[in-house]
Symmetry: C2
């Protein structure tokens, strides 16, 4: 069969939705182009481990073209997509080239949003990409280093205060792990400060942490966080964030490190579709994940807004994988002139990790917390990692960290301004 | 004994010289402050592996304060040293603080120099720090990605041409490994280009590569490089380097990736000593590694210029370790009112790796090349790595890479401008 006459499927975004769709089309009579502005698929559930120096970036990422090297009907392009022109079934890349498609899957995911306070971004970095994670790692490790050199007690206290905004899974993971680092990992490594004096605050405007879990597990999660040494504040909104700290209701918290785990918004690319978006910028899709008005445009993953049984399908990895697989099935069916049932999200349960031997697992009837939940979470996540080698290294790092409380990637890279332009000497 | 009356030893630079000196003073009646502007000791002999995506940054680095956590007489400070005031035995840090010393060891190492062509730096990055390595990794991996998207054949050829300037150990390592990546690692992962068409050129102005080795081994190294697919050009100086390539004698080489492994210069901090420096900015030291005119100032490692038996002591890791240990012995002796013999460099041999199963080893009478030399090099280096865990992970990555030709860290991080400021979405 002549390649050039095959229908062209363009997938934008190499996350869970895009990659799972691409793989599910491996044997389909289509030519696929997977476009991502990075060169790798990222295992986002472990991203907080990179941000907290437990894993190094390559441990949780694999090059997309390596994952797909044997899938002959797929071309991987590392490109920036500037806009979508759905009327002409065409993508415009930022390098000026265009890309025509017969079917488009838009799966560019979500980014963090600051509820209109974009000036907070500079003071409170969020965690979505590996660059975000390395940025946070540098900020956290540098805070301890600067505290060791700081002589003024107030300035030192502010350097040793870490405020995490947002009590969802990411906020809980970051808070629990930071407390563990301060209490155990860095213990005895400093001479002028005691890292155990560090304060880790988790700030949640809503009534409870992990609000997507049943109340009983939220309560258990809070107790586990407090056992790890995290100060949990719920029910009070953050008013302002600046370089010196956070205004929480009427309370001023001096914190030189503020991390953002609160707001999430869909990737801005969706706007160029020209359809009505929901409040967080996601694309409302039909039950078959197509965009109303554009027969050949699908949206999947965190970028898609879909109601099921009166509840929104959550922005989690399993939902993204299921959506991606469904889009592939739908394209196959249409090429074969068949119809398929609309997408249905199968919820296999909800997991969140908190820290060493601390997690919560909600499998519907079965609810776990503590050590058992943590082991459940660890095995489940490490074995979802793509690439056998990664799993090996991650397990090795994890086991090592577990025995020794040490973390493998406590290396400060780049300059405070975020650039990594070569430094001129090894030292000063 | 009252800590405050102990003599204050300040060590600047946490490389081999500084760290070995610090450790050798563990039981001495002194209080040590180790100042480094980074937070980690770097195992530089494996830095080229990070630059070529074989290892991730944390694999070859360990936090200085973790290495030294049990050495109670040592404080580690992550600070930038702005200048030295030897007359008043004082260091000035860039944060304005000062640091007084009774003994100073200056071990800030070397940086790359462009022979007065500082404008070449932007086009031809050098390899001295982890940031340098990640910068080179991004440039190399991005070149292949951009070639895949490039439609113009000339532009594509330039993207697939890699020129390494300098035929010393670093240049040879980079050239050999890049050829291996193009020929094996990336094979079959691209659809529009064949990475095996990539050209890797090693440009050495002198008559032969690895000039610090006997001619017979230089010749063997050259043959091994050519077997790996590297074009070796000796005896022709590079005239200019710009964004599009290299002018080699009368030949223009269009190469979008040029790496600099030619010139080395001492860290600029030495200038503030106010003593006469040698041509490459190093500090000529007395046979006991002290600076003429300053009784309490030592210089060790790549920053020190010392002749022994009419030959300069080479700027290699073993020499730096030996110098550091000697400085520690000298300080101990002086505190005990004893004298010690001047420093003597013991040359245990010279090793250079070229690529997979390719290396040269010069142990004086015994000269090895090829697979045997490579195994010798591998074992020697991996087992010098600080930290048991690192060794494990490095061995694991290496074994994996060896079986599969794959490389563990093929992740493009940061933006082309070198900044790693958070990106807004996972894709486009």
């Amino acid at each position: 069969m002549n390649e050039t006459v095959l229908p062209r499927v363009v997938v934008v975004g190499g996350g869970f939705a895009g990659l799972w769709a691409t793989r599910a089309l491996a044997s389909a009579p289509v030519q696929i182009t997977l476009v991502d502005r990075g060169n790798h698929h990222l295992f986002q559930p472990l991203l907080y481990q990179v941000a907290t120096a437990g894993l190094s970036a390559p441990d949780i990422a694999a090059p997309l073209r390596h994952i797909l090297r044997r899938q002959r009907n797929c071309t991987v392009l590392m490109e920036d997509v500037a806009s979508i022109e759905p009327q002409s079934s065409r993508l415009r890349l930022s390098d000026g080239h265009t890309l025509d498609y017969d079917f488009l899957l838009l799966a560019t995911g979500a980014t963090h949003a600051y509820f209109g306070h974009d000036d907070w971004a500079a003071h409170a970095p969020g965690l979505k990409t590996l660059d975000d994670a390395l940025h946070i790692r540098r900020r956290v490790l540098s805070a301890f280093e600067r505290a060791e050199a700081e002589t003024d007690p107030d300035a030192r206290r502010a350097l040793l205060t870490f405020a995490i905004v947002g009590g969802g899974p990411t906020g809980v993971e970051l808070a629990g792990t930071l407390a563990e680092i301060a209490r155990h990992t860095l213990k005895r490594e400093f001479r002028c400060i005691d890292p155990r004096e560090a304060r880790v605050l988790l700030l949640e405007a809503g009534p409870r942490v992990l609000s997507s879990f049943p109340e009983s597990l939220s309560a258990k999660a809070r107790r586990q966080l407090e056992k790890l040494g995290v100060e949990v504040r719920t029910g009070i909104p953050v008013r302002t964030i600046d370089g010196d700290g956070v205004q929480l209701g009427n309370e001023r918290i001096a914190a030189r490190t503020v991390l953002w785990a609160a707001g999430v918004a869909a990737s801005p690319l969706a706007r160029s579709l020209g359809v009505e978006l929901d409040r967080s910028g996601r694309v409302p899709v039909l039950p078959d994940l197509r965009v109303p008005g554009f027969d050949n445009v699908y949206v999947a993953g965190d970028l898609a807004s879909l109601q099921q049984d009166g509840k929104p399908v959550p922005g989690v990895a399993p939902a993204a994988k299921q959506m991606g697989a469904h889009v592939a099935r739908s394209i196959r069916a249409r090429l074969a002139g068949r119809d398929i049932a609309p997408f249905r999200y199968r919820d296999y349960g909800n997991l969140a990790t908190i820290g060493r031997m601390a997690a919560v697992v909600d499998l519907g009837k079965l609810k776990l917390s503590g050590a058992l939940a943590w082991w459940f979470w660890l095995v489940a996540h490490v074995f979802f990692l793509i690439g056998f080698r990664n799993r090996l290294v991650v397990m090795l790092n994890w086991t090592w960290a577990y025995w020794t409380y040490q973390r493998a990637a406590r290396i400060i890279l780049g300059k405070p301004d975020g650039s990594d332009q070569p430094r001129s000497t090894r030292q000063a």
